[in-house]
Symmetry: C2
Subunit: 519 residues, 2 copies
Amino acid sequence: MMPTEHSQYHSPVADPGHVVKSSPVMIDGVALNGPTLDVSAAEGFIQQSMAIIMEDAVRKATNVREKVCEWRSPEQLKELLDLELKDGGEAQSKILQRCRDAIRYSVKTTHPRFFNQLYAGMEPYSMVGSFIIEAIKPSLYTYEVAPVFTLMEEAVLKKMMEFLGWEEGGDGIFNPGGSVSNMYAMNVARFHHCPDIKELGLSAVPRLVMFTSQECHYSISKAAAFLGIGTKNVYVVPSDKRGKMIPAALEEQIKKAKNEGAEPFMVNATAGTTVLGAFDPIEEIADICEKYNLWLHVDACWGGAALLSKKHRHLLKGIHRANSVAWNPHKMLMACLQCCAFMVRDKTGLLQRCHSARASYLFQQDKFYDVSYDTGDKSIQCSRKPDAFKFWLMWKALGTSELERRVDRAFAMARYLAQEIKKREGFRLLMEPEYANVCFWYIPPSLRNMPESPEFWQKLHTVGPAVKERMMKKGSMMVSYQPHGDKVNFFRMIIISPQASREDMDFVLDEIDRLGQDL
Amino acid sequence: MMPTEHSQYHSPVADPGHVVKSSPVMIDGVALNGPTLDVSAAEGFIQQSMAIIMEDAVRKATNVREKVCEWRSPEQLKELLDLELKDGGEAQSKILQRCRDAIRYSVKTTHPRFFNQLYAGMEPYSMVGSFIIEAIKPSLYTYEVAPVFTLMEEAVLKKMMEFLGWEEGGDGIFNPGGSVSNMYAMNVARFHHCPDIKELGLSAVPRLVMFTSQECHYSISKAAAFLGIGTKNVYVVPSDKRGKMIPAALEEQIKKAKNEGAEPFMVNATAGTTVLGAFDPIEEIADICEKYNLWLHVDACWGGAALLSKKHRHLLKGIHRANSVAWNPHKMLMACLQCCAFMVRDKTGLLQRCHSARASYLFQQDKFYDVSYDTGDKSIQCSRKPDAFKFWLMWKALGTSELERRVDRAFAMARYLAQEIKKREGFRLLMEPEYANVCFWYIPPSLRNMPESPEFWQKLHTVGPAVKERMMKKGSMMVSYQPHGDKVNFFRMIIISPQASREDMDFVLDEIDRLGQDL
């Protein structure tokens, strides 16, 4: 093994804060005097890395003249990255190069022309918050270990619940993803329905059934499988042409389940569906939930941001009646990934009772401070990251008013794009956008004069993947495509970031046309 | 509202990369020409923040002469932090001060005298890896969005499985915490036992029962509740005095469950228990699992690190026979929080079949690359952080050999501390350490000549919390205490970080003695 630069960190060093005793102590052949990591030498490496991150992962990654992605096939990339882990370490200069390569071949989700997912853009305050978290490594189980972040989580949840219109407040927890939030909802709802399930399990009770629309996120199905409810016990309610759940159809499904002898316990309404950006009619669904005594969960992971806008919050009318809500500030509000809140309107400690296991090594009751600040037993996790801080810091910096301006701008940008699509030859809108999802087909010249036969749709279905391949290999932008229900592959544009502008919308349409001309 | 410095970011700016059209476009009163976030202006803020992070969260946080924590009660801290979120934003200078305050009042888990949890210490390479992740915001569902990190996760899992002795390899996924890994294990085990459960749920099948020792992590109980199995269907197997599961007792419990007409499906063995650091005898447990055809999961979240040591890996003898393993490199191996692998020996796609929901908007099958690299449908999450990268980068830098040296040193340090405890008046070891957990009582002078009556134990029980309060208010170190089974409160020291040395061990004992003299 070659001597390497980093070896300087790994020999005993004199640290004036440590009183080094004269006699070296050996145990099992290991010398124990003095630290073997010289933190001050490591600082040089961290400094150099920060310069690279600033240059490549911040400046270059967000520059519209740079590529969004530097496409390599898995085989090529394996070759380039030299992934194998070995006995010997590598020199610092080599590691710095590895950092540069990891950034270079990664997709730049903070680039102004990344429109591929429900998140995008660079948010400087939130980014700094996440750097702080990574540097000090807090874990959010007890106040003792994470005092600052425990209080910040409480403050952020309180403010978010104000926007839900929960005048009495409630309870909540940040967790690793909207999918996990929906799992929390399902577990709390069934515990509320029948607390014995926690101890006895589902084999001791009648078949539980929940309801959601055909347009809901796939995490509902995953959650039903994971929680032992079973995917077939998720009764799917039809949606209208816009993608909104049909309340009358919900009531029919509830009656059907009851007739079968099953026990309905929960309805999931979606505020901002993944593909179409549709909002289920919460008010009417809440009426049905009241009538049948069902828990109402609103999956507002994507659509929750509209609550910040006085102009658009009507889309979530009735959300104050929800029993629980999932809302991801890492989507339109641009907090760094991941930043996801699950909230319940209950104030009796339901969240805690439902999930607690009272580990005596962590949640000691004889601590010297108010242990109600040890929030970890509400969680299904043990270690938990303080994601709320990333949102708190940016909210402090921007204020509610700037968050509102950003949301309003995202709505306006989607409307602009839809107008342009309607004006252009070869582009066809699926429907007017209600939110920030703009769904459209690109019809290449070769198909423009064809009748809309099965052959036409079959050919159109291949356009999305082909254009996507070309845009990725060129690295000019990233826009997702998908089929949906009976619709063949279409593009879905999501415009969130204040880095993007009208000029980028024009660019996207021009570029699709350039890339797809000959298809 | 006062004008603030940050407002400069939020007006349209000329960006030479964007061809700004002459006519401004207004939609719903919002001007859409040009970006409204000036990234280059934001870079100045990020630069200044990085300087603060370097100074306060790296240099000062790891300096042994600084405090581990700056204790404030929740009430005091709320006052200091001004948590409320408001309509108007704040100036950058104010936000920088908020960053300083957040760091100042947070516990320094990277300080050489933080011994409170099963993680500790500063790892420069992993920290840099986590900064890169935060800057470029990847999400690990598809190769398309996270090419580099998809391949790195595969490489790290492959290497970890080598250490498990899985010669044929297997499958796996990084996920947000050992608790979640244990949930994965339970779900995969029951799907393997009866695949219909995914669709039909547990109400359609006989009562399932699993087995674990009384010393296991509390996440097993949480998982059983969450997955609908029920906490009472976790049959608890007694452990011996060292905290190891008694195999004969396991077999008795299995027979008992069968006699009750329940269906045993899984055994959880713990490699490195949370409080005592005990290792269940995997080989003997594996024999029993084979005999009764039960899934064997090994929770090696804490103890897995010993596999890196040729000297100590015998503690996990038999782990190659496990069907699944949970192992957290963020504990003794010091990858940044969170870094947790769940692995299955199965190579037939069990993980995927068990969790998949085949979302057509994300896992399109008509993509232009090999979609077997889209690993997201193995996961219960949608967005998922590329935690493996934090481990990959440090492993490249340090090599397996340095990881092994660190593990061996942690073992040696625990032995040194145990020796010292035995030498000192007023200290009493609970048992010889087998791993890196050193458990002991401190007996203040007032109790040293008392007979070991119930009154003695009752008084001793109050020593841990009192000493803990004093160490936190002084900020000199953090060591956890807990009761356990029939044992009154004792201290549990965990020594992981190469920043800590023999001198720190001496300091801990001296300091406990200083703080507890008058109790």
